[in-house]
Assembly symmetry: C2
DNA sequence: AGCTAATCTTTACATAGGTTAATTTTCTCC
DNA sequence: GGAGAAAATTAACCTATGTAAAGATTAGCT
């Protein structure tokens, strides 16, 4: 299991003193399957780190249909990043698909450490850059690849995950209906 | 016109000394319509700032079809951000759709200033965060909205732009074929 | 083990949107 | 201003994928 410490140091090493200050802000928290970490319409204040479990981030359309923007597994930060950054309300929800072990910190207490620890702000910069590059990649794949290709890529990148959560969540993550994913799987099996 | 100075200070103010060091790295550059700022397969080394003109960032599929990931207008940074960050080759191209006035700097000379000027690294962090939030928003819109809704949103956000560049570039930006955009426009006109 | 609810697949049908090609309209530049 | 190129529209056709509903399968209790 990748600890918060290793995860952070892997992005960009920081001083021992910075790590102490950061670590002190994170407290353990459990989520039960079905619990929400953030909810649309509310303003995010916390950032979480997944030690175990699976969380989906999803947006809701007006007809009530949902789109799974992302599936998070350990190790990974979660939270209403856009809301934390801009101060606007969340446009999305994050729901535990399994029981989860998290570490949770107040985001603004964390960002208050940037002045004291520029090496930590560097971590935040690199993280934001990596998030951006990942989003860019996903955007290209959503538009340029067929649903079947996206499914194959998904299986490659998150092996086993398709057996831990309902397929319709994966379909939504891939941007297709559960029916269509079922057809795709049938095709591949031949 | 929003200058580089104002653009940067608007994100997060920096010391006069930091601004001097940054500004010294940016040199004017003209692009003619049709010129490329970055090319896929090559590694990006430069970052640009658009003072005037329009640039499209696009990805190419295997069948040669293109997808306009983004349309840039002044004021805006351009460059192979993902490549600059990761050191991998560009997966995308950036092509001038009109003659352009840019300021261009070596990216690594710029990032070398982070140690000396933490206030500048803060600018970089906020910028990356804003980029990320924008991508997230675009991703949601691509998946949740119909092509017609995306077109209306585009007209609202970039008024007039549809009269400055070929419609098929806008269609590609919206993720539909030129034929389909034509149908959409016809529908709206009724 | 067996019951119930959840999930997955399949079928039938509808539609948005792709492709290709022909036609019309609009630019561009001599 | 006219010729040729570029862009936009239209028409014809096709396919991927959506929706709804019915069945089949699986999982989660008690």
């Amino acid at each position: 299991m990748v600890s918060l410490h290793n995860y952070v140091f892997n992005i960009s090493p920081i001083s021992e003193s910075a790590w102490q200050d950061i670590n002190a802000l994170f407290l353990p928290k459990q989520l039960r399957k079905g619990d929400y970490f953030i909810t649309e319409g509310k303003t995010a204040t916390q950032i979480g780190f997944i030690n175990s479990g699976i969380i989906r981030a999803f947006a809701k359309g007006r007809n009530g249909q949902e789109y799974n923007k992302h599936l998070f597994t350990a190790p990974s930060f979660i939270g209403g990043y856009a809301s934390l950054i801009t101060g606007n309300t969340n446009k999305i929800n994050q729901e535990a698909l399994t029981d989860c072990e998290l570490l949770v910190a107040d985001y603004h207490k964390l960002t208050a450490l940037y002045d004291k620890h520029p090496d930590f702000e560097r971590v935040a910069r690199k993280l934001a850059e990596l998030f951006f590059a990942a989003k860019e990649q996903r955007e290209i794949e959503l538009v340029m690849l067929s649903a079947e290709e996206r499914y194959l890529l998904f299986r490659e990148r998150m092996p086993g995950l398709e057996f831990e959560i309902p397929l319709y969540h994966i379909a939504s993550y891939l941007g297709v209906s559960a029916v269509q994913l079922s057809r795709i799987r049938k095709n591949l099996a031949r």
